[in-house]
Symmetry: C2
Subunit: 390 residues, 2 copies
């Protein structure tokens, strides 16, 4: 079975931009292939994670982007699972290379969210909830996640201040990440003083609306070698993949244990032959601060009810925690959350950490194992996990 490698990565600027979706994509592709072979020489197939036709009245994003980067006859396909679309694209690329069917596959994510403002994005995102049973109640992404947070604060020792610390930690990481949307720090009082969006979640508990694109070229060893720039960096392998799911609505869910993420992470660990304790860095889907706490627990990085300690230095956390560093990129919260691109932006951070090319301020020393968890819908309606190793 060919071993899938991360051969190259790239991102566009993240944030509020004047760029269209295809131009965001071009920026990401340009970075990934700079100094390497042309896309047309190596790419056998493409998958594009993209959430919304509402943002740009554009479907067929696979074909559009293949043509846009000169891959006219390369089969390219859009995949959609709301915010998990990026990891779905990555998973297809990995499976295609593993099966030997393709030598190199470009996993892409792109989202142009800001044109319609926050209201436009909120409306577009509401399409991820059940039209018949939830949308008609007026639910939004923050109000759905607020249900999880209310229950979590009720069931555990966590406080709103603990959630605020997660936001502060992720802003500090983003301040050291040139790819981040918010390259600035914040403090606990600022987070706590920000307006409630849906109690207990405040503005600074929420990931922003973001324009952005990210690409990851997944390739077998031969093609990956063509991107080797002669340094001594270890190759990065995609060693494990897992998928989990839950029902789309929250009414019949365990609100404080994210089952789908637990299944996905467990499957990815098993495939990679690692355990939670081996994970040096984890990019988890912190669409809201509560998510980071819940996903740390679901992935076995934290004991049940203690995931909210993710912002503490490893030595200060409760027994049962691993030494994992979470959301070193700044996470969705501060690196930004361009829906279809987020799962691939997570992989870009893992690639930088595992190759030792992250900025010194956020580089985790000797990182060899990374966990990615990308989700769509409320928490685990769709979950995809990847384990990357050197």
């Amino acid at each position: 079975m060919p071993d899938p490698h991360v051969a190259a990565v790239g991102t566009s600027p993240f944030g509020r931009t004047e760029l269209t979706g295809r131009d965001l994509f071009s920026a990401a592709v340009a970075e990934a292939f700079e100094g390497g072979p042309d896309p047309a020489e190596v790419v056998d197939a493409m998958y594009v994670g993209n959430q919304s036709e509402s943002y740009e009245h554009q479907i067929m994003y696979g074909t559009l982007l293949a043509e846009w980067c000169g891959l006219r006859h390369v089969p390219s396909e859009r995949v959609e699972g709301c915010a998990a679309a990026g990891a779905l694209a990555l998973r297809h690329a990995v499976e295609d290379v593993r099966s030997g069917r393709r030598d190199a596959v470009l996993a892409c994510g792109v989202e142009k969210m800001t044109a319609g403002g926050t209201a436009g994005a909120t409306n577009a995102l509401s399409a991820a909830f059940d039209r018949a049973l939830e949308q008609r109640s007026g639910v939004t992404a923050p109000s759905q996640y607020a249900l999880l947070a209310q229950r979590y604060l009720h069931d555990t020792d966590a406080t709103e201040r603990d959630l605020a610390r997660i936001a502060v930690k992720n802003h500090a990481n983003a301040a050291a990440n040139p790819r981040a949307q918010f390259q600035r720090e914040t403090d606990v009082e600022t987070v706590l003083d920000s307006d409630y969006v849906s109690p207990p979640l405040k503005l600074f508990d929420c990931a922003p609306v973001t324009d952005g694109a990210a690409v990851v070229l997944v390739a077998n060893a031969d093609v990956a070698a063509r991107f080797d720039d002669g340094d001594d960096r270890p190759p990065v392998r995609v060693a494990g993949v897992g998928a989990g799911a839950n029902n789309i609505g929250v009414a019949d869910r365990n609100l404080t244990f994210v089952e789908g993420a637990h299944e996905a992470a467990t499957e990815a660990y098993d495939e990679a032959g690692v355990e939670a304790a081996d994970v040096d860095i984890a990019e988890v889907h912190d669409a809201f601060t509560i998510s980071e706490a819940l996903l740390a627990e679901a992935a076995g990085l934290a004991p049940r009810g203690r995931g909210y300690e993710s912002a503490l230095p490893p030595a200060e956390r409760s027994d049962g925690w691993t030494d994992t560093h979470l959301s070193t990129s700044g996470g969705l919260k501060a690196r930004g959350h361009p829906i279809g691109a987020t799962g691939l932006a997570q992989a870009v951070e893992a690639y930088e950490q595992l190759t030792g090319t992250a900025t010194p301020e956020r580089q985790v020393a000797d990182a060899t194992t990374a966990l990615l968890i990308n989700e769509g819908g409320v928490a685990d309606a769709v979950t995809v996990a990847h384990v990357l190793t050197t």
Copy 2:
């Protein structure tokens, strides 16, 4: 490598219905699993072809439908390539079973198109064209295909009457297909007298707007055996898969040779170890009558410039034609064209023909090999081909 079989198929009613997307899906699933094991006992993953969030303000259709049929924790994913989405879902199911990663995968397609009327559907479909370069010119699906038809009539001996004969033949087939939207015949004069939508294409050259769902359970031999009802029918295998592509816009295309379909069909033939001459029945993507002519040529069933003879009995066609029967279901033209479901409806027809369970009026005697070509965008922007054999 496990051999992927078509274990079960089902469709909803096709046409203008009062059913929502999820209810259409339920009808298709109910048929497929009637008398067999429950979906929850056998389905390991789902793929859902669905084009539009515009029709129902609903994304995450994978998760929604998994929950809807009791598959709460089964990973399910939406794939999108406009009208090729159904075959993309089928292809993923086939590849998952081939690789041994899954034992049984449900490929689903669903589209609820009629709620917004023809104008709503036309607007939704226009999202399949390039937003920056084509949509702003006011193009629609009929006007794009009319460009291909104009060129074809100019370059070949074909006439509008020849195209009309394709519509008449497909209506006659649909009249014998209980699954079809239009179960009634028409005649050449009626087609020729219908209003121009975009010259030379008239109303009766165009596939209709359709609500509908179709599902195909792809499984390895062990699971497929659980659906065996004890008759002597041969098992149906998915013997070959192919994918092709072209740029999204028509400006830089060969208008009369559908390159992507040629590539896709050739790849599928090669995988299956068959040739065009072996194909007994072909369901090709006749979104417009011109498409059937073009695709017969691209797939090697007809000599170049003679695909318009597809409505003639095999013995009356030009030299170089195979004996293939085209669109025995009635095709998109008369069976109906629920965008995301069409590729799977093609597979349902192939299953019926290869198992000898089509209605006697349209059953092709001793059919053993079927070709499916499903496309998205104008002609071959996305093309997926499958070869099914007994």
